[in-house]
């Protein structure tokens, strides 16, 4: 049994007469202690998938499907029960650390609040634990940081604090939503390495949501590629990079800048994602796909298993299966 088993997760937004299918049926597993990447363009639904797992979807949105965490379906829990899981068994690292901290309180107060909420520690114990946690995320002077207010921290420092908070209650799974997007390139790598080290120490699984395929490859063991709310390819990092089976994945790989190829312009993917309230008939990527066949515009491709560790949703693969 995997730590997290997502099955046909659908998060639709119902407004007036339109339905926006922001997350449209992805299924994937995250195994114990593994780092699974969810990669895609802005608007592909990856962030919302992460939020749906924690049931943090705003009002007109409705979540259906199954999200089994250690065997329990999170979507069928009461509000009280899911609150116990949030921050403790499953925690989240947000995209923008500076705005994710309460401006009214010092860092110490905020960390102590979380610890006392989930672990029922005394104030003294929580304060001590906070200092240890900050030390673990590479902050040289925890005492000084604890006494600061959020705006007094740099982006990198505050993201370290968020990581410390996320791991503070020994979660089984951490959902990291674009944790490095708001940071400069050098800090990005530092934070990624920190996350890898912390994950190894705590034995936590991570759902790493990002639009940066290159960054995902650095830290993840398996990657799921999302497009317009659907999971189009799901494979180990090696298989994904060596033999990508979906045209979208191939196009994404082509857009990664390579320092050894000094040719002219960077390849881009023509067109843009379809309106999620008005999806085309057939494969969502077909309108932009350079290799589409007639079938692609008529029916939705089903997920196919190429290898035990490689799934793809694309008719081209069915074709090659037929021929080869």
């Amino acid at each position: 049994m995997a730590t997290l088993e997502v099955r046909c997760l659908k998060t639709y937004f119902y407004q007036n007469s339109s339905v926006t299918k922001a997350v449209d049926g992805p299924s994937f597993d995250i195994r114990e202690k593994e780092i699974f990447g969810l990669v895609g363009e802005s608007g592909a639904g990856k962030t919302l998938t992460g939020r749906s797992i924690l049931r943090l979807v705003p009002k007109p949105g409705k979540i259906v499907g199954e999200v089994r965490f250690k065997g329990r379906n999170l979507l069928s829990l009461s509000e009280k029960e899911i609150r116990k899981i949030r921050g403790k068994d499953i925690s989240a690292i947000p995209q923008d650390p500076l705005s994710s901290l309460n401006p009214a309180f010092k860092i110490e107060d905020q960390m102590v609040d979380v610890l006392r909420l989930h672990l029922a520690l005394s104030k003294q114990e929580s304060k001590h634990r906070s200092e240890v946690l900050l030390h673990q995320v590479g902050i040289a002077d925890p005492h000084s940081v604890l006494n600061k207010y959020p705006h007094q921290l740099s982006g990198g420092m505050s993201q370290r604090v968020m990581i410390a908070i996320a791991f503070s209650c020994e979660p089984t799974l951490v959902i990291a939503d674009e944790p490095t997007t708001a940071l400069d390139v050098i800090t990005q790598l530092q934070i990624i390495d920190l996350m890898r080290r912390t994950q190894e120490t705590h034995g936590t699984a991570i759902l790493f949501v990002t639009h940066n395929l290159w960054l995902a490859a650095r830290i993840c063991s398996r990657i799921g590629v999302m497009y317009a709310g659907r999971l189009v390819e799901n494979a180990s990092v090696e298989k994904l990079f060596e033999s990508p089976r979906h045209p979208y994945t191939q196009a994404l790989l082509d857009t990664i800048p390579r320092h050894d190829v000094k040719s002219g312009t960077l390849p881009i993917i023509e067109g843009s994602m379809p309106n999620l309230a008005n999806l085309p008939v057939g494969c969502n990527f077909a309108p932009r796909c350079p290799m589409k066949i007639s079938r692609c515009l008529k029916r939705d491709p089903e997920e196919m298993k190429i290898d035990p560790d490689h799934k793809v949703s694309c008719f081209l693969n069915t074709e090659s299966e037929k021929n080869g």
Binding site: R86, A92, P94, L101, A104, I165
Partner: protein, 292 residues
Amino acid sequence: MTPKILSMQFSRSAKYLLSSKKILFGTIIVTGLILISILAPIIAPFDPNQQNRKAPYDPPFWFSEGSTEHILGTDSLGRDVFSRLIYSSQAAVYVAVVGTIFTALIGSAVGVLAGYYRGRVDEVNMRIVDAWMSFPAVLLSIALISILGVGLQNVALAVIVVDWSRFARVIRSETLNIREEDYIQAARSLGFSDFKIIRKEILPNLVPILTVIVTIEMSIAITVEVLLSYVGLGVKAFTPSWGSMIAEGMGYVQTNWWVATFPMITLILVILSINILGEGAREKLDPKIQTN
């Protein structure tokens, strides 16, 4: 309001606020006023209602007919103007403090709940607020006093009844802004309940805007007390108030001007000071003015 600005304010708090001359000036005057109202029995040389029929209309001490006994003179019944001036601060402070506290409590409660929960709670509350605000404030307060009778408690009640809705609107608006901030989302993802979020994330971040509107509310409260007392619908018969002093003194202002003039000056000074305090607070705390 960006979290960065709010965060800056909390870290510097007292020092930050007092660096503003306006806030400093306003705070000194308001504190002085409150002290005077508490220490009135000690400071005032005479009982404010002590009449001296033998010495009415005594002018202030710098006139030849005046004396240092009654430094600001006496009124038509020989009552010491200076003492009445001091004791009147009690009426103003009472209404300002009581009226503002309860207006803030009720208005904030309604505003925060409406702004945080939205949906049905919001709609119902705001319908009530809208309906409430369509009543003219003056008529409402006069009607209230006519029904309940005069007295400081009812004046404070009038302030609360009229102004809570305005308060609710402002707090609701600010709450709507705050709840969209990333740190609210982050708090939810960490497992905090609505109640905890309101208590630790919404309310503390409302303090800046609250400070601003509370100072404005005090100014309104005092003005209401004075106006009602002026027309005889404020303080009870023998309670001194700047309003009633002015009303009485206006009757003979051409000849014995001091009875009406000194309370007028005092009133203007107090209202101006509170407004300056509010302006200073707004400059330092109001999100819309902050630029750095």
